[in-house]
């Protein structure tokens, strides 16, 4: 091509056109930012929040429902000068609050742009109605209907869990599912069942013009999405039993867990002190109070506290001994008010007949007897060393659901602790420890840690004579399917026939009429055969912890329960009445007159204020 002036000009023209087209190509096709900006500019998503699913108990009682409430929203750009005092009156708030907020919006007006901000949260219906009458006076302000949680039953804050607005960290982890202003279940059932309960948000898309006047529905509403209500969730909780358990545990530190042995369903789950449901609905304004409480009400003891199980653990040692063949029910061992494990070192015991056999030892909770039981388990010639025997023993214990997470459907479950041989090797050196070193394991003390849920599961295993179902809180219902693993029998490594033997001992502990030293006689309920085992776990931090497990009726058991009361003393004194009263209430619906004194005593005793 001849590069005369004419052609140079045409080349220049084409070059300029190419630059324009190149830039257009970039902003229209390559760069997506402008498209986003455009929808931010002109599309207003009006979110429709679905009602959260209702939480029911096992009998269809409503544990958690929804209450209508309103958020007051504001689009700062739309707000002209207005009568702040009138708005303060309409909303029932201080006029300073309004001034502060408006000042904040002014300060960040470029960042806020046309966005709508939440002005006031959780305005009750009556305030909303007052506001709605005068809404026309305050352009830019409007109300958004929301559902807040309401609790017809005081079923316990730790169990139900709370719902709160998502925070920045949470949004970062779930960028696609949640948006600022959404609510999410944070603990308990609300968190565990978040996916079922939350439903799906819907929205209207509206278009607005440059002055932020909302004009019409976008695309005639074809792209709008209706809100999908959350699914209702049926729990295995018995609301009345749960509430009764909370009343009994009021003023005490500890937990009660009740299970249905034939299904593994959790009937009650009390952690005390807990969060009252009144606080639960508005938890954000109680943070300080809750976190400063020395008894940590937010700490769900039922699944997180790791306690030494104490004497109830003797059942497991007895069962392992029977299974291993190092113990026979008819073996009798002496108890000289305890067991001398090395020289003058004695693990003490209370007074009862001696020597005694297994069933009596269970019934009287003889420490000395079970020291012999564990001694012969660990010194079994089948194993090359105590260490090897301990690990074999640990395998048995783990099969009872101890020392690991049970795998319930409740969040934040912990596993407790069952020591391994390596653990003692680390402390004492390999081969430098033997049975006397770890004698306290015989009676469920020492390095053993178990959660109340695990202890209750032990009660269920005893009730089932050797197997359990993983404890769980949610029932199958329409639209909500639980993991089939909860319907599978979990077997322990001990044969069923040995359980029959030990259950006899538990029966005697409660019903051992006339037998000196039967520890759980107070648990006897007229007309119902209860099997139980007390425990008193030493507590390095103060008075002993009081433990009790039981199930009833002895044949075809319907409830298995574990109660754990911290710093209360003997198991028979505190944990036993709590558990047995709950059993009676659950099975008969009432407390028999001759046991009223027990109920009164428990209800009227407070260890903490």
């Amino acid at each position: 091509m001849n590069l005369n002036h004419q052609n140079k000009l045409i080349i220049g023209l084409v070059a300029v056109a190419a630059v324009l087209l190149g830039k257009l190509f970039y902003i229209q096709i390559i760069n997506d930012d402008y498209k986003k900006d455009a929808s931010n500019n002109s599309m207003v998503y009006e979110y429709i929040y679905p009602p959260r699913g209702v939480i029911y108990d096992r009998n269809g009682e409503e544990l958690v429902t929804n209450l209508l409430s309103y958020d007051i929203l504001v689009t700062p750009r739309e707000v002209p000068a207005f009568d702040t005092l009138a708005l303060a009156n309409a909303l029932g708030i201080d006029v300073e609050v309004i001034r502060e907020k408006m000042a904040y919006y002014r300060k960040y007006r470029t960042r806020i742009g046309y966005q709508t901000q939440t002005f006031l949260k959780r305005v009750p219906q009556e305030v909303y109605l007052r506001f709605a009458e005068e809404e026309y006076k305050f352009p830019g302000f409007r109300a958004l209907r929301r559902n807040v949680r309401e609790y017809p039953f005081n079923a316990g804050g730790n169990l139900l869990g709370y719902v709160s607005e998502v925070d920045g960290d949470f949004l970062k982890k779930h960028p696609d599912e949640y948006r600022a202003g959404d609510y999410v279940g944070k603990t308990g059932i609300e968190a565990a069942q978040e996916k079922n309960l939350r439903g799906e948000k819907g929205y209207h898309i509206r278009l607005r013009d440059s002055r932020n006047r909302v004009m019409t529905s976008y695309n005639d509403g074809l792209d709008d999405k209706p809100a999908l209500p959350g699914k209702n969730v049926y729990t295995t909780i018995d609301a009345h039993l749960q509430q009764y358990g909370q009343e009994l545990m009021d003023g005490k530190v500890g937990s009660v867990v009740a299970l249905e042995p034939s299904t593994g369903e959790i009937l009650a789950m009390v952690s005390s002190p807990g969060i009252d449901v009144d606080i639960l609905a508005d938890i954000s304004s109680h943070w300080e109070e809750l976190s400063n409480d020395p008894y940590k009400p937010m700490f769900n003891r039922t699944v997180m506290a790791s306690y030494p199980p104490g004497s109830v653990f003797k059942l497991i040692n007895g069962l392992i001994g029977l299974q291993e063949g190092t113990l026979k029910a008819e073996y009798s061992y002496p108890c000289y008010s305890g067991y001398y494990y090395s020289g003058n070192h004695k693990l003490g015991c209370h007074s009862h007949a001696s020597p005694l056999r297994l069933l009596d030892a269970i019934a009287t909770s003889c420490n000395g007897y079970f020291c012999f039981v564990l001694k012969y388990i660990l010194e079994n010639k089948r194993y090359a060393s105590t260490a090897e025997a301990l690990d074999a023993w640990r395998e048995y214990v783990l099969s009872f659901g101890f020392g690991r997470k049970l795998g319930s459907d409740f969040p934040s479950e912990l596993g407790g602790n069952i020591p391994t041989s390596q653990y003692y090797d680390r402390i004492y050196g390999a081969g430098r420890w033997s049975f006397p070193t770890i004698v306290s394991l015989s009676i469920g003390q020492g390095e053993i840690g178990a959660t109340p849920l695990q202890i209750a599961n032990l009660a269920a295993i005893m009730a089932n004579r050797g197997h359990y179902y993983i404890p769980h809180l949610i029932k199958d219902s329409e639209g909500v399917e639980i993991d089939p693993v909860y319907h599978e029998k979990q077997y322990t490594k001990v044969d069923s026939m040995h359980f029959v033997t030990c259950v006899e001992g538990m029966k005697m502990a409660v019903n051992g009429q006339g037998m000196a030293g039967a520890t759980a006689r107070a648990a006897a309920i007229p007309g119902i055969e209860v099997c139980g085992k007390t425990g008193t776990a030493q507590n390095p931090h103060g008075k002993d912890n009081s433990v009790f497990i039981c199930f009833a009726p002895a044949d075809n058991p319907r409830i298995a329960i574990a109660a754990y009361v911290e710093n209360a003393g003997f198991g028979a004194t505190w944990a036993l009445p709590v558990a047995s009263l709950m059993v009676e209430k659950y099975l008969t619906g009432t407390i028999s007159p001759e046991r009223k004194y027990l109920e009164d005593r428990i209800l009227n005793t407070r260890f903490i204020q």
């Binding site: 023209l13 056109a17 087209l21 229209q28 455009a38 929808s39 002109s42 013009d209 440059s210």
Partner: protein, 433 residues
Amino acid sequence: MKEIGGNTRSLRDSVDWKLVICYLVLVLIGWVNIYAAVHSSEPSSIFDWSCRSGKQAVWILTAFLLDFLILFVINPRMWEVISTPAYLAVVLLLIAVIFLGIEVKGSRSWFALGPVRFQPAEISKITTALLLSMVMSKSTFRMYDRSAFLTVAAIIGIPMLTILCESETGSALVYVGFIFALYREGLSGWYIVFGLIAVVLFVLTLVTNWWISLILLGLLCLGWMVNILRSTYKEERAVRRSALWRTILAFLAGVAMIFATNFIFNNVLQDHQRKRIEVLLGMKEDPAGVGYNVRQSMIAIGSGGFAGKGFLHGTQTTYGFVPEQSTDFIFCTIGEEWGFIGCFTVIILYVLMIIWIINDAEKSRENFTRIYGYCLASCLFMHLFINIGMTIGLMPVIGIPLPLLSYGGSSLWAFSVMIFIFIALDHQEKKYF
């Protein structure tokens, strides 16, 4: 081909219909998009007299009438004849409007005759082009004659400066485009190159630092000097010396320019101009103020994507996020509703139109027609580049219309007349030769 006996070519062959069709298509695109730009959620008819698309329909029909008159009734010879008095009359109007005009958005460039407003700056492009063509087409005209050079400078400079006084920077800037026509007629290309280097230095000094510009200038001058020394080694000493002096002068001018930059920027430019440049160069962010137009305009265009959102479905367009959307920012509507395809089509139509005008101009035996054609092409190009460049953030916000597309009678009439004068000139020539 020419036939003896004064036979004329048929209308079909003598009118450049490509240009006419291009013109018609662009006008139609403009009208449809003006309708979309002012179309609010209450749909009104495109012919509704009370809305801008209705008014534009009237402007378009009257423009067609003008086109017809120019093409078939008025003798094209007349344009050459009246060029001087027309030019003088329009310059008078330009000066008069400063005193008698009404103020619209900070500039005094509009006459108000009852309900109708009209902007003499639009016509002055035509008269300037005509006079320029007349003067330069004389056989005695030599570009580098001092008097000729000064005449040309005056013809362009007088209306340009007057318009600057009216604070119509955009319209004044268009006159810079006449340099392309002068270039075609033999002006050295270095003027354009120097102009571009000046712009680059200006921007560089503003965005970075004066010494970076100085280094660039030094390198450029050094390169030029080396080039001169190499290419003139056979020449006489005097020639070489004068060439070297020129580079030194250019360097000094550049240095002066660099050090004047901040002064010009801060003291000569008006506040809004300074802000627009700052926003364009990213020196300041002002999304709510000056940057708002450009940002909204780029959002509208960018959100159009490849194929656009469809006629009347532009969310930014329909709801008036872009100011001046039917006039200076009409390109946004095209960008948003017709996407890249629409933008491409419009730009290609303009480019083809300009290229065809240049081709016709080159084929013409008449100097007047040729020079006028280049003046027309330059004007179209300047409007196209400044206007579209502004909507997509390549140019500062300078208020000039997109030819034939933007809403407004003055602009549409002026461009129609200007284009059809050329088509008529071309038609007359083809008819008889």
